[in-house]
């Protein structure tokens, strides 16, 4: 298990948990990011955001948020 912020571009991972308060968990869940979902990292080059392919849409996350998302 590792933080999403450390996943390389092109890799596919599965979300295990979100280590954050209720507000952020809720916001991420609204965007489709829930435990068990498969995502593909489209772009993870600093300083840019982490861009994901999730449920057929693209989602951009700041590194701070990506760091709280645990994946395998």
């Amino acid at each position: 298990m590792m933080p999403l912020s450390m996943v390389s571009s092109g890799e596919e991972v599965r979300v295990v948990a979100v280590r954050a308060g209720w507000g952020l968990q809720r916001r991420l869940a609204d965007m489709g990011l829930t435990p068990g979902v498969q995502v593909r990292v489209i772009n993870s080059q600093r300083p840019g955001p982490v861009v994901l392919d999730i449920r057929g849409s693209r989602l951009a996350l700041g590194y701070g948020v990506a760091h709280k998302i645990m994946v395998t």
Binding site: R26, D30, G32, G56
Partner: protein
Amino acid sequence: MARKEITIALAGNPNSGKTTVFNNLTGARQHVGNWPGVTVEKKEGSLSYEGYHIKVVDLPGVYSLTAYSLDEVIARDFVVDENPDVVVDIVDASNLERNLYLAVQLLEMGAKLVVALNMMDVAESRRYQINVKELSRLLGAPVVPLVATRNQGTQELLQTVVGVVKDNIEVTGMRLQYGREVEEEIAKLEKVISNNSLSKKYSSRWLAVKLLEEDKEIIKKFEEAQVG
């Protein structure tokens, strides 16, 4: 006697083509202001169609209707408090799963929903094939395909809106099942809620679901209902 003044609200995700649809419907007859007391922009416009005078209110683009952001609270409150005759949800056909999340929430709230399935050209270019009839059946609401940037489907959308107002077209909505444990809790809450004055304005089931989500706006409403 047929009512000739109707109000429709445009809902949808950011970048779903809502503004384009708004412009197609209202042309130059638009007015921009603010939602009362806040700095969020409010756009209203109007048009005449088949003897109806239609007021169009553009709601803020949102992904969801929770209590966590001002845009969402504005959109949600308008649907519940102002009770527009029809809510048109502009759905990006090339991002269906994400966009339908909002549609389902609107249906759960009891909105008279028409789904405007926009960006059909983009979906087609990605080789997506969408069974519009089946989607409509599953949602319990009419679905109108559009390509708003080409002003295609606007007339069909207006026909459908008027059809819903005239009750020729039914919006039955859908009932999402949340699984046995959650449904049991919902049933318990619904029983208590039906005695509360709030259930006259909002669906008991929707209130029960919001309470389980610990929706702070709804919790506040219940607290206010106790005091009053």
